[in-house]
Amino acid sequence: MPTLTRKEVDEIAMLARLHLEPDESARMQDDLGKILDHFLALATVETEGVPAMTHAVPMDLRLRSDEPAPSLPASDALRGAPAREGDTFLVPAIINGGDA
């Protein structure tokens, strides 16, 4: 599968919502290509029938009791936001706003 093309790098950056300058994109192609080449060895490991592990410790996710409790006040939650209006986060328009 590797090595990566520049087009693939740009597609992945788009999926990751990450703007890369052209020189960053070129460096990324080189770095990721080398790392992925190193990972090719994984394909040789026999894993037929081996379950995939998501968590190391077996655990049954617990449910908490369904009781109302105070949550973070909106004013506190919003304090770190770069742009806000009243009790809401401010974002660029997505309807009729020309979202890409």
Binding site: I12, A13, R17, E21, D31, K34, I35, H38
Partner: protein, 490 residues
Amino acid sequence: MSPPTQWLSATETAAKVASGELTASRIVDHYLARIANIDREIGAYLVVSSDEARRAAQEIDQARAANQPLGPLAGVPIALKDMLVTKGTVTTAGSKILEGWIPPYDGTVVEKLRAAGAIILGKVNCDEFGMGSSTERSAYKKTKNPWDTSRVPGGSSGGSAAAVAAGLCAASLGTDTGGSLRQPAAFCGCVGFKPTYGRVSRWGVVAFASSLDQVGPLTRTVRDAALMLEVIAGVDPRDSTSLDAPVPKYTDALTGDVKGLRVGVPHEYFEGTIDDEVRAAIEKTKQALVERGAILVEISLPNTAHALAAYYIVAPAEASSNLARYDGIRFGKAAAGAKNLYDLYARSRGQGFGPEVKRRIMLGTYALRSGYYAAYYKKAQQIRTLIKRDFDNAFQHVDVILTPTTPTAAFRFNSKASPLEMYLGDVFTLSCNLAGIPGMSVPCGITIDGLPIGVQLLGKPLDEATLLRTGGVIEAVVGLGARRPGGVPA
């Protein structure tokens, strides 16, 4: 004669406060003065919370004067890795994207420390979002190794290790996703302890890779690690992955007795390139344990060779998902002049994240995307199962596993030519996180150049006590004793 305040262990510091020999205020003033004098050279702290620390110290002193009961860490000055969320104190995780963010709440471990009487001195440097092995990836500053300031302190908890080693705090808390407590502890001559996955709550910890992250102590002594773990361990209703298991009195584990202890030595960890001095120190440690009645058992962990690739798929995959929250909208920095929502996301993230974080997000996004998932992410998770099985098998025959923590002692700044070369240095510490087992690094010697060497102990799930007991003996027999780093004033 008692050592100077900055070289007292956390345990000794708490005892002196409890007995009235030292006041918390005097201790805090001593540390703040030392930070002001020395930290310009070391670069451990991102934020020093002087006023808050002095206030907390006064409260401890008043409580003692009023004969109120004191917590187990009363008056002990602690530095927190900047991955830990602190109410009212800027928390950045070493990233520009969180520059200036003041959290509205404390993480569970921070709450527990405060409740135990610990005094938060400030926030210490780390690789951005915990992604790195040298603290060179911090967006803010360079942190130097107090044993040799031309070398890195390790990472990602490099600020924690440098602060503990340089006497700029009595102890620290850090996080460990692939070795981020154990490797810097080894490089700086400290004890680094990663508990069993789920032993300590992750609520209020900046997330890197959620199935691997754990909070743990970074301390000057094994007893301090036990004491800190007693305070921070336990189930938390706010973290559904925290384990509902009783918390033992870990300090009771330090019996000094390893008679009959079965110590596994996995041959796979000794086959690659290991520095001769590291190899010799590990041999000496093994012999020291044998002389005290432990039994060495050669074991095999056959999937060790695959751990690095599996880790560098699983961790970036989880990171790419966790770091999606940094979108320029809810907290942190937003790019100016964005044309639309996509542009706001992409430019805020492009400007806010550093090169290593971008690399990991890209790697994770690559591994998770449609059509590639089975070849990378699923394959890596299957290998994770094989690695866990290796440990399960080994622990049927041994009580603890002993390996080097790192292939070399601390390296020089800018000495790793590529990202991959940096990743390869993590080869001994990653498997522990993949398997979710507890691991610790204990100092076990020093190179001719005066650099500390660490030995790694790995244990059965929730058997932190055996690690601490073994580590305590290693510390007593081959540890650094009263030896202090040469790069800072004694």
